[in-house]
Symmetry: D3
Subunit: 287 residues, 6 copies
C-alpha cells in the first residue's frame, strides 16, 4: 500500500500518499458521505495544494476520491446550511441586505481561493473522476490540468438544481476547458447528467477507462512519465499554458520570452540535450 | 395550435407564441422567401428579444424559422441593395468616401445591435436550425445559447461569396462557439456548405434530429426543463457564462462573487434546497 | 513541374513555386535533414511570409515540407547549440546572468517574430503536415489558418524533452487552436506523439488524407477555391477572425464595423453581387 | 436670443438652441429646482444626445444648466424615492432580494446608458458648470470632452452622503479624467466640496471664468473654432481619443490605422491641405 | 495617549492604536532604524491589513512611521542580504539559475502580496509620510488611497541605486497614481529625491502640512469624517474606484451595476436619505 | 564639438553623436526646412532607434532638432502629397476604395512602427523640444521617456488643421502621458498652440529652460546621471513602467516578478549594494 507523504499526515479529510518518486496522490477521504465537502474540507484542500505547489519532493499530483462510489457529490448541503453565512443562525445576526452581501462575497472568495489553489499549484495536477462527480466536483475538475475518468462516472453541473448559479469556478472555467459553447450552456442550464462518452467527445476528459482502478493506473503512469522530465520545463509549460488561456497571443509571447530568459539558463536544458545525444535517461534536480 | 403571446402580436415578420408555461416560441415568418431578412426584420428581431429579456412571463425562448425549407437564407440581398446606405440611390446622396464610411459604420452597428439582442436576452435562447441556414443565419445562431438542428440543415458562412467579410457577428463569435480554429477558418474562408454531422462533430450544434419537427420537439422539452428551474439560477448562469467567455478566469471569479452576493439572498435558494430535501417539485416566482 | 515564383528565387532553404494563378506553394527545403531548422531558415521563413503578405500576385499560400519523411523535425538542435546565445562559445562572452537573460529575450523575440509572420501574413495560409512534425513544426502549424495532414504524420510538442518550455508560439496558440484544455495539457506536458486521428478528433487538423500527395492536392484545391473569391472579402475575413480570437465580442464587433466601413465601398461587393445574380464567375482585382 | 433647434423642440426639461452655424446649446431647464433630475429628465438627456450624435446640422455641442444657481443639484432625491425600483410602493411589489437586485441592475444600466450617451455622442461636447454642481452633475461632466466652469462653481461627488457609491459613471470615469488618484479618492470618499481653483489644478476643468456668462462665451468661442474644422477630422479625433483611454497603445494604434484607412480618403483631407497652401478658409461638408 | 487596538497587540514591529471610534492608526515601529523593513515586518504588515480589511470595529485606517525621522527608509538592505534567497548562504544551496529564478519569483510574489494587502484592505487607508520616505516607502504609499505628507519629507524611488528595478509595486502603480508620465520616468530612472512641493504639484500627495504632527492631525480629521459616513457607501466607493482604475469604462459600469444591485438594498441608503431630510446625524451599523 | 557615433554615420537626415561615455545624441538634421519629415526620414528614425536599442555602447539617448527654430514642423506635407499612397499619381494607379484602404492601412502601420521604435528603444530616451514642435513632433515626443523644452517652444497637435485625425501615435499616447482628459481633448480638437508653461502645468514636459542650449545641457546632465546607474536596473525600470501603463496592476506585478527573477541574479545588484556600503562609485558592465 502507498505510503503517506511526510508533511501531509495531519489532514482530517484528505489522504496524501507517495506514488513512486515525485508523484503525490491526494485522495478526498470521506467516502461514507460520497466525499461530500464540508467547509473544513475545502480549507484543507487549499492548504494541501498550496503546500504541494512549492514542495520540492513532488513533481506531479494525482487527485481522486476515496472509495468506488464518488469523486465527490459536491458540497454537503445539509452541513453547509448550518455553517454558511446564509445559515439561519447567522442570518439572524446580520439582517441588512448590504451587509449580508458583503459577508457572502467574502465567503465566496475564500471558497474560490481554495479551489483555485488546485489550478495555481505549480506542479501538474491529473484528476481522476469516478462515480458521482457533481456540483463542486466539476469546479475542482476544471482546475486540474488533465482529466481522466472511469466508465461509471456520472457528471453534472448541479447548481441550478439548488437554486443558484455555480460560483466556485465552473462557470468561469468550463467555457475555456471545452470547445463547444452550445454543449456548455446545455449542461450548465439544465443541470442534466452526462457520461464519459459525452465528456470525451467534447474534450472535457481526455481518457476514459473501464474502472476507477484502471483510470488511476493510467493517471499514475502519465504522472510518472511527466515526473521524469525536467521540472523546469514541465512547470514552465504549465505556467505558460495557463497564462496563454487568459491572454492575447502577443501578450503570451512577450511573457514567454521573459520567462524563458531565466529558465533557459537552467542546467536542465544542457542535461536534457546531452541525454538526448547520449541516449541516456536524464536526471534532473528537484524544484 | 400554439397561442400568440400577449404583447408580441403586432410584429409583421415574426410569430411569437406560447409553448407551455413560460416558454416563448419565436418564428421568423417569411417562409415564401426562405425567411430571408429585410431591414425591417432585423429591427423587429432586436425589438422582440429586448422585450423578452425582461418579460416576467417568459423564462426560456425557442427561435426557429417558419416552414420546412429554411431557418433563414440570410439577408435578402436584392432588397438590401435598395435599402442600404450602399444602395445606388443613397450612394448619389453621399459620394464622399469618408462620409459614406461613417454612414456604413453606423448602419453596421445598428444591425449588429439588433442581432446582439439575442445574445443579451437575459433568458436562455435555444435555436432550431433546419434547411437553408446561411449567412445571417450563422450570425443569429452564434448568439443563441444552445443550438440544435434537423438532419436536412445546410449551413454556410456565405458572406465571402458576396464579396464581403461577415460583419454582423459570425466572425466575432464563431471562434468562441466552437473549439477548432482550423475548421472555423476553413468554413469562413471557403464559404462552403457543411452539414449536421460536421456541425455536431465540431460542437457547433449539440443535438441533431431526424426532422425539423423532432428538433423543435427536443428544443421545447429542453426549454420546459430549464423553465422549471429557478429563474434566478438560470439567468445568473447565462450571464456568468457569457461574461466568462470574454474575461480571464480571475476577472470572472470576481464578477461571480459580486453577482451571487445578491442572488444567494433570493428565496429561490431556500425553496430549491427544501424541495430537494422534501422531494417535491419547487415553484419559483417570476423574474 | 511547378514554376518558381518570381521574387522568391534567392532563398537557400525554401522553394517557392506558383500553383495555378494566385496560389503560392512554400516548401521547407532541407529534406536530407528532415527539414530541421537552422537559424538562417527561420530568418528566411519570416522574410518570405512578410513578402507574401503584401504581394499582389498571391492570394493564398500553401506551406509544406519537402520530401516524404517530414514536415519538419523542428529546430536543428545540434546546429543551434553552436549558433545560439546559449552556445558554449557565446556563453563565455557573456557570463552575467542578467545580461545573458537580455540576450536570450531578444533572441527569442526575433525567433517568435519570424514564426508569427506566418500568422500575420494577410493572405490565408494552408499548412500540410506529413511524417515527422515535431517541436517547431507545431509552432508553425499553429500559425497557419487551416491545417491538413497525411495519415503518416507523427506530431509531438517535443520541447519538454529537451528541458525547456516551448517558447516560439505553441504554448501561446495551441489553447486557442483546439477546444480541449485537458488534451492540450496532456500533449504539452508529456511530449508524447499523437497521430492524425487524434489530431482530427480534437480539431487540430481539419482534414486527414491517405498520403502527402493527396493532402497537398486537397490543400491546392482548397487554395484555388479560396483564391477565386474576392481578396477584399477573404483577407478581411482572416484579419477579423484573428482579431476575434484575442478580443471580447464587443471589441471585435466594433473593430469589424470600422473595418467594413471602408471594405464595403470596394467594387468587389458589387462585382460579387452582380455575378451571383447573373450566375457568372466573378473576376476580382489583385490586392 | 438664440433660436430653438429644429427637431429638438418637444423636450420638456431641456432647451436646445442654435448658437451660430453648427453649434447646439443644450440647457438643463429646471432652474426652479436647481436643475435637479427626475427620471424623465435623464431619459430625455439620453434621447437628445443620441439624436445630436448623428445630426448633420450639428458639429459641436455645449451643455449647461439654465439659470445662475446650478449646473445641476443632481438627482431629485425626493422624486426618486417615489419613482425608483426602491420606492416603498414598488418595494412591496417585489420583496425577494434576488428579484429586487435584478430590477435595480436593469434600472442602473438604463440610467447609465442615458448619461453615457453624452460620452458616445460623435460630436464633441463642451460642458459649462456653474453654481451647484454635485452628484449627477459630476457623472455628466465626466462624459463631456472639455469642461469649463465659472468661479462660483461648487463641485461635490455627493453620493456617499446619501449612503451609496456613485453608480452612474463618476467612479468609472473620474480616475481617467484627472491624474491624481489621491485627490480622486479624497473627494469621492469624503463627499466634500471643491472649487474651481482645485478643479483646475488637478485638471478636472481646463478653464475657469469669472462668471457663468463668461464661461459660456468662452465655450461658444471654442465650439465655433472646433466647428470650423473638418468634421471627419474632429469626430475621428474624439473617437480615437475615447478608444485610446480604454486600450493599450498597440491596440489603439491598430484601430487608428483601420479608422484612417477610410477617413483619409475623404475630400476633407484634400480641401484642408489646399486651403492651407492657398491661405483660404476651408469649407467642409456636413457629417 | 492612544490605546492599543484589541486584536493587534502581538505584532513586534507595528503599533496599532485606536484613534476615536472606528479609526485605526497603524505605525511602522522601528524608529531607531528609520523604520527600515525586515522580512518579518512586511509579513506583519500584510497580516495587519488583511485583518483590518474585515474588522467590523474599523472603518478607516491611518498609516504612518513612528518617530520624526522617517516614514521608512525602505528595505533594510543589510538584513535582506542575509535573509533573502539571494543571500550568500542560500545561494550556495541553490546554484542553478533556473531554480534560483523560481525561488526569487516566489519570494517577490510573497513580498508583493503583503504590500498589496494595503491596497486590497476594504477600508480606506490614509498614508502620512514624513522625513525619509524612500524605496519601499513609495511602494507602500502607492497602495494607500489618500497620501498626505509633512514639509520635511524626502521621497525617492531609490531602487535603481541598488542595481535593481523596483519590483514590489512602485513601477506597477505610480503611472496610475499620478498623471505625468514624464515625471514618473524622471524620478524612477534617476532615483533622485523629490520634495513635498513637487509631490503636490504632480498629484502624488494631496495635502502638505508643516509638521508630521499637523499632517497626522489632518489625516485623523479626514479619517473621522469618512468614518462617519455609511460604510456600505464608503467601502463600495473604494472598491469601485480600484476596479475602475484597471478596467475600461464599459466594464466598470457593468461591475458597478451588479455591485449596487445588492448595496442599494442596504438600510444605509434609507438611513442617509432620512437623515438628510431630517437634518440629523445618521448612525450606520458596522461592516 | 561632439564626435559622430561609430555605426551611425551613414544617415542622411540625422546626426548621431557621442555625448560623454554611453550617451548618444540624435539630431533631426534638416534645419533649413524646420526639420520637417520626409518619408525617408521616419524610415531612418526607426532604423536608428532599433539600432540604439541593443547597442551596448549606448545607455541613454537624447533626441532633439538641429538649429534653433524647430524641434520639427511635422510631416513635410508638400513632399508627402507626392510620396504617399494618397498622392495623385498613385491614386490613379489604385482607384478602388477597398484596395486604397488596404494600402493606406499598411502605410500608416509602417509609419507608426518607425515612431514606435523610439518608445520601444530599450534605453531611456530624453526628448528636448524647442521652437516649432507641431504635428509629428507631438507623436515623437509622446514616445520619449522624459520630455524637456525651452521657453520658446510652440507646441500644437496640428492634424485636424489638415483635415485628419492624428494617426501616428499622439491620440493613442497623449491620454496616458498627461493626466487631464479635458486638456487633452481641448488641444487635440482645436489644434491650438500651447506653450511651455501650460505643458509643464499639465505634466506634458517635466522641465522648462530658458534656451535650447540650457534645455539640452539639462538633458545631457540627466542622461549622464542615468547612464551612471546599472543598465540592468535602468532598462528594467523602463520596460516595467511601459508595461504598467498598459496593464492592470495585478498583471504588471506578475510580469515584474518574472522579469526580476532573472535580473536580480545579475552582478549589478551585488556591485551596487557593495558600492553603497563602501561609498564608492560603482562600475557596471555594458548591456
Amino acid at each position: 500500500m502507498a505510503q503517506q507523504l511526510a508533511g501531509y499526515t495531519t489532514f482530517k479529510y484528505f489522504l496524501v500518499t507517495s506514488v513512486g518518486p515525485a508523484v503525490a496522490h491526494v485522495e478526498i477521504n470521506r467516502p461514507a458521505k460520497l466525499n461530500a465537502f464540508l467547509e473544513a474540507m475545502w480549507l484543507e484542500l487549499g492548504q494541501i495544494f498550496r503546500q504541494l505547489s512549492t514542495d520540492p519532493e513532488v513533481r506531479v499530483v494525482v487527485l481522486s476520491g476515496a472509495g468506488n462510489r464518488a469523486f465527490t457529490a459536491g458540497l454537503d448541503v445539509q452541513a453547509a446550511s448550518q455553517d454558511s453565512p446564509l445559515a439561519p443562525g447567522r442570518q439572524d445576526a446580520v439582517s441588512d441586505v448590504g451587509r449580508k452581501a458583503t459577508l457572502l462575497r467574502r465567503h465566496i472568495q475564500e471558497f474560490q481561493d481554495c479551489i483555485t489553489a488546485v489550478e495555481k499549484c505549480e506542479k501538474p495536477v491529473i484528476c481522476v473522476a469516478n462515480g458521482i462527480s457533481i456540483g463542486l466536483a466539476i469546479d475542482i475538475l476544471c482546475c486540474a490540468d488533465i482529466r481522466v475518468c472511469s466508465r461509471d462516472t456520472k457528471f453534472s453541473v448541479k447548481e441550478v438544481d439548488i437554486g443558484m448559479a455555480a460560483d466556485i469556478g465552473t462557470l468561469s472555467r468550463l467555457p475555456k476547458v471545452v470547445g463547444s459553447s452550445s454543449w456548455v450552456k446545455d449542461v450548465c442550464l439544465s443541470a442534466r447528467y452526462f457520461g464519459p462518452a459525452e465528456a470525451l467527445a467534447v474534450g472535457f476528459v481526455s481518457q476514459v477507462h473501464d474502472s476507477k482502478a484502471a483510470a488511476l493506473d493510467a493517471a499514475f503512469k502519465l504522472a510518472e512519465l511527466i515526473s521524469s522530465k525536467s521540472p523546469i520545463a514541465v512547470q514552465g509549460t504549465k505556467e505558460l499554458l495557463n497564462h496563454a488561456q487568459d491572454h492575447p497571443v502577443d501578450e503570451s509571447l512577450r511573457y514567454t520570452g521573459v520567462w524563458n530568459s531565466a529558465a533557459l539558463q537552467s542546467a536542465d536544458f544542457q542535461v536534457a540535450l546531452l541525454s538526448g545525444i547520449q541516449k541516456k535517461k536524464p536526471v534532473f534536480e528537484k524544484l
